[in-house]
């Protein structure tokens, strides 16, 4: 049983949830809310009426301006991983304005520009939480498709407003645009955190980025900001021009070209692997130097094949990472503001979301859709 949110849906939580489910999504909380939800594994999103809790003393209420469309949203609405609890309102790259703050909230005031990312809850008292690693807390709750601390289901950012405990709200730095900065709340931290943790930031070293999508293009920018030499590894030769001229990568490797791949063997210190489909690790591991590190961030449905010889003979490693803690996410936002790093986005209206999801399934986007929530989401 490897469901990543099984810990946030314990038996007692589900029991509480079932009790609360005697009330409908519209009535379980006192404040009417509106968003778009998927109701089944067709993944089709459509208008959805639900409700949000009152702003508690530790809470911040956010009027949502923009919400990025993460590939996880697509996996979740289609129940690719088998643990979606419908109806699901996705969205965990949220930027908005604080409209209410509870009386215990000191770091934010009304009118502040804030962000909400992948996590909106944790136990706040375990070793992981004490070390600012809320993302590894066993009681960690995701922004959507998880059970919150009050036993009700969390609904995400494809909606007008969201109410979040202050610990999980981020200050959006001056100079970081709300629309193109929104994807950093997932894509940015997902790449930044393992680069710091696994020591992949030494200037002058050589980073390979496998896959040039939402995560990959941000990885290139962050890698360059750390002073690394960056090579994009992709199966699509057509992305080379952009990778080099627009994103600033130093070189481009077509993974399906055996001669190019062979020439690059043993040249990289680090690889960030963002590919979410099942794919071969062996060619990527060959690209690493001795003691090289590969971090895998995509979430394929099936296990990957791991050849052991290259790991052993080269003392190489394959590691995972899952977003980041709140302190580190704030650090990442400030880092990106300082280095002018934003995502390359395509702004869409809420009612274009279904065709955007179809295009995302074919990786037809340069490189993140962002929903213009405030200007396009209105109750019918």
């Amino acid at each position: 049983n490897i469901s990543p949110i099984s810990h946030s849906l314990t038996h007692s939580d589900k029991h509480k949830h079932r009790n609360k489910m005697a009330k409908s999504p519209e009535t379980e909380h006192p404040n009417k809310a509106f968003g778009w939800a998927a109701r089944d594994k067709s993944g089709l999103l459509s208008p959805f009426h639900f409700s949000r809790r009152d702003n508690g003393e530790n809470d911040v209420t956010v009027k949502i301006l923009y919400c990025g469309v993460c590939h996880t949203d697509l996996h979740t609405i289609k129940n690719d991983w088998g643990f979606t609890y419908y109806p699901v309102v996705p969205g965990h790259e949220i930027v908005g304005i604080a409209t209410k703050v509870g009386k215990n909230v000191t770091t934010f005031k009304e009118g502040d520009r804030v962000g909400v990312g992948v996590i909106t809850g944790s136990c706040q008292s375990c070793e992981s939480c004490d070390q600012d690693l809320e993302n590894y807390c066993p009681q960690m709750a995701f922004t959507y498709n998880a059970i919150g601390s009050d036993g009700t289901k969390n609904y995400g950012g494809y909606s007008e407003t969201i109410v979040v405990d202050q610990r999980f709200v981020l200050r959006f730095p001056e100079g970081l645009p709300s629309d193109s900065g929104a994807p950093l709340l997932c894509a940015g931290i997902t790449v930044y955190s393992p680069m710091k943790y696994y020591g992949m930031t030494e200037p002058g070293k050589h980073l390979g980025v496998a896959g040039l999508g939402g995560l990959g293009h941000v990885a290139v920018k962050i890698g360059k900001a750390f002073g690394l030499k960056v090579t994009v590894i992709s199966s699509s030769p057509s992305k080379e021009d952009e990778a080099i001229n627009r994103l600033g990568a130093d070189s481009f490797l077509v993974s399906s070209d055996p001669r190019n791949m062979k020439a690059a063997i043993g040249t990289m210190d680090y690889i960030i692997d963002t590919v979410s489909a099942v794919h071969a690790l062996f060619p990527l591991l060959s690209l690493l130097k001795v003691n090289g590190k590969l971090v895998t961030l995509g979430l394929p449905e099936k296990p990957l094949e791991l050849p052991i010889f290259p790991l052993v003979l080269g003392r190489k490693m394959v590691g995972g990472s899952d977003v980041g803690g709140m302190k580190e996410t704030q650090e990442m936002l400030d880092f990106c503001a300082k280095h002018n790093i934003t995502a390359d986005i395509e702004l869409i209206k809420m009612d274009e979301i279904n065709s955007a999801m179809e295009r995302l399934a074919k990786s037809d986007v340069r490189y993140r859709f962002v929903i213009d929530v405030a200007n396009s989401l209105s109750p019918p």
Binding site: I2, P4, S286, P303, L313, R315, V318, G319, G320
Partner: protein
Amino acid sequence: KLPSSAYINWDTYCPSIRPGLWLLSLSPQSASRSYSYFTSPMAKSPEEQHPVNVVGWAAEDSSGVLAPINFSRRATGEKDVTFKVLYCGICHTDLHQIKNEWGNTIYPVIPGHEIVGVVTEVGGKVLKFKVGDKVGVGCLVGSCHSCENCANDLENYCPKMILTYNGIYHDGTPTYGGYSNIMVCDESFVISIPENLALDACAPLLCAGITTYSPLRYFGLDKPGMHVGVVGLGGLGHVAVKFAKAFGVKVTVISTSPDKKIEAIDRLGADSFLVSSDPDQMQVAMGTMDGIIDTVSATHPLLPLIGLLKSHGKLVMVGVPEKPLELPVFPLLIGRKLVAGSAIGGIKETQEMIDFAAKHNITADIELIPMDYVNTAMERLMKTDVRYRFVIDIGNTLKH
């Protein structure tokens, strides 16, 4: 689907083992034949290559049957140490190689890379050793001495590293291992054996010892109070337990054989024992280990082992299954865990490991055998019927 030998891209990892050969296009059998140094009419036979007559036991083909062979070694060069071999450990790699399981064996092959003995001659420029010293040689006898890895005392990761046997030396001749009466080795690859270590029982440390010591150190699994699992209780596994205990680490042995429990705990000092085929035991132990050293070379599932790790835990492979294993990605991400590999260690670290073993009285648990028992020993090793390393009593039983 590529043959499993395709994953062992020797050309990339150890060019000195298969210079110039792109493995993918060859079957193991034809590769070995075409590689056979001795079908070339210009090549000299093993007896004629060098001036010093030596005896050993070799396998001539992939049946892996070992038999006496007369061959030769080079005269002691100015940086060489020559020693009379007293003992040689039998490593599972020896078994893999004599049977050509990795598709890269050059026949005849004389295995053995856990070699200890007494120095009989040193070259004019040798500084660290003198006649009468007790010395050992492990898996390496050469490297380039000029790359970044060599400069960092990581000769075991040098792209031109030369293995003690089944390799090609700087002079172009094949290297022959420790199932022989005399060994000649460059000083910089010779290990000094401290007085208080029993020679026969410390021989296996030269491979099994360093193979487990190095990753415990490198991956930081050596801090007192940590909890480390050891998968597989064989040559590597039993030494891993001893080193980990000496570091002050809590050790759990993970094994498919319940009958190894008593030994693991009473004799080797492990703190607990987990039967990996028992789902209840495995469930209780989930999320309890800082690291795991996996010594198993057969194909086996990684998912349960990854589950045993705490968040930020590390699974280190030191056994080498030929075929790829399934890597479930979700658990790696959710717990920020990693899977890594490690191969022996550099010479400096090997010496450090031997000195550490001497200080903490760590030796291998061995079964000493005469040379002519070696084929039976190999059969038993295949069935893992040994507690926990065979060591050949070369000095007393290898006859001319």
